[in-house]
Symmetry: C2
Subunit: 342 residues, 2 copies
């Protein structure tokens, strides 16, 4: 493996000149630059990452902490991951993958060893134990998701409260007034991932503001969970004409259950789902959905990390506004005229 001094010799310049044409931190004449670049290409030179990290205290690596087996849908996680990796590459950074189950120790390990320049954490919980640890690291970090107290912490996420409001607004615009929320599994609430409560909060608030009659229920996974959830909704809100589904895993069994019961979507029941595009279009009925912008959120997380690294001031929190995409699961609701007997 050639070193920087091999390149320098081949190009007839000093090591520092080679270093500077590589980093661009100093003006170099076009001619010298060409000679150095030719030598680099000729020799197939790659700067040694460790040496560079040692000398510069910069690794060009980002840590990404992903949840393993949570109730978060795996495809969504993967979308965040690919978004982060792709965005990181545009900044000439690589991504070191950590799993959440290593907990605080994992963060301290890679940060303490100076393996990474910054950290990005997914699946942040209400009172996440890792947050105090982050403050002790010398590297900056960015959260995907919001803890209860996000003060002074860089956070990025979809604006779930606004998303809930948009879903209700969309349905209200179609004449629906009795609307139920099929929420995430109770485990999600218990774990304390705040997107669930942020969505629920936005839902409740918007329902009141819009004068809607609503109920909200978490939904256990599987056919059984969906069935129970629907039964409770029907019992508590008779005449419900629309569902907001904030539970990706529940979508397939839910549609199946409705079909089995002869309730047509959207003729008998309208649905707005909160999910990524591809799951919305991959189901028997193409669902009108509030998009989960994994790509955008992941990209912003990386941008934020880069700003932090460059000492640039950045907004502490970034809430990505919702986008509703209309497809085939929402129909206009006409109030039924109650036929009085006689």
């Amino acid at each position: 493996m050639p070193t920087i001094s091999d390149v320098a010799r081949a190009a007839g310049v000093s090591m520092s000149t080679v270093s500077y044409v590589l980093s661009g931190r100093r003006p170099i004449s076009a001619e010298t630059q060409a000679r150095v670049k030719a030598a680099i290409a000729e020799l197939g030179y790659h700067p040694h990452a460790g040496a560079r990290a040692l000398a510069s205290s910069r690794t060009s690596v980002l840590a990404l902490v992903v949840p393993l087996r949570v109730d978060v849908s795996v495809p969504v996680i993967m979308q965040f991951v690919t978004a982060v990796v792709t965005a990181a590459r545009t900044y000439n950074h690589d991504v070191l993958l950590l799993t959440k189950d290593e907990g605080t120790a994992g963060l301290e390990r890679v940060a303490g060893a100076t393996m990474v320049d910054a950290l990005i954490l997914m699946d942040v919980e209400r009172d996440d134990v890792r947050i105090p640890a982050l403050g002790r690291l010398k590297q900056p970090s960015v959260l995907i998701g919001f803890p209860d107290d996000a003060a002074g912490i860089a956070c990025v996420d979809l604006d779930f409260a606004a998303t809930a409001a948009e879903c209700l607004g969309h349905l209200a615009g179609h004449g629906h007034t009795r609307i139920a929320l099929v929420g995430p599994s109770p485990a999600v609430y218990e774990r304390g991932t705040t997107y669930a409560s942020r969505f629920l909060g936005g839902f409740t608030e918007a329902a009141e503001r819009l004068g809607l009659e609503t109920v909200a229920h978490p939904c256990e996974p599987g056919v059984r969970g969906v069935r129970d959830c629907l039964a409770q909704i029907d019992a508590e809100l008779p005449g419900v004409s629309a569902l907001v589904v904030h539970n990706e895993e529940a979508l397939p069994p839910l549609l199946e259950e409705l079909r089995a019961n002869g309730r047509r979507v959207p003729q008998d029941l309208s649905i707005v789902a909160v999910c990524p595009r591809d799951v919305a279009v991959g189901l028997p009925v193409r669902l009108t959905s509030a998009d989960i912008p994994a790509h955008e959120v992941g990209t912003i997380a990386v941008e934020t990390a880069m700003n932090l690294l460059d000492g640039r001031r950045t907004p502490g929190t970034r809430l990505v506004p919702p986008t509703i995409i209309e497809r085939d699961s929402c129909a206009t609701h006409h109030e039924e005229i109650s036929a009085s007997p006689g």
Copy 2:
């Protein structure tokens, strides 16, 4: 951040002694060892990864190259990823995540910069362009999957040929003689991922050996693809009583289509699917399946990489034998007595 010399001073020993208690490459008296460890804990010392890599030419990092948006099911990819990360951690290694779309350049970049000790590649193709490049790297690599010519290359994968044979054997054991293969989408064959053809080869060979009547069809994604595939199968193999499904994405629409046509599983049609456990049990009918042992394959890939790093001889290729898990989608087939008229 404390350095090794801070630790040495605090413990009243030399730098090299600290280094050796950390690496265990030299006997150190219990007493000295205790003093050094105490100093390390006291100061919260973490060796600097870059400095270590520079001095030792070892990074304690593995590269893992994952496919992005292929026709491989995302949950399966994620299972491999978590298996590799988890296994790597047991060897005190971390994982740098690369995407396949960076191609050969990505491999050369991380290997050339000495960012990793070894590489693990998923989604290897028949005549993968990256393979010649791997030979030029100074780091060893392990493939998950098999190229056409696996000579001299470390490869790990499920034994798809044996898996196909097991599936047929299982169905034959239940009295089935007319069996169809619902294969991966044509795109998979075209891309040249060899697991598809290895499975098909094993299927054809076993069918002949067992004296079965079979047909095999690729299956395009979506409801439409499933419908077409079933139609062709019924046309070419009337009286088909069992399906081997080597196409995870096709499973949900396939079951739905059968249900819609009034064909009960397993009473009218038996099914053996090739898929991970969790998708087999997550469908309306709990499917008898040949497991995709992502965890085992990922773990073996890491072990192999470690062996290679330690200069240990390892078998070039590792084929993980199949496991059939019986669930509710296979029934015994009783040959219909053709009622002769009159």
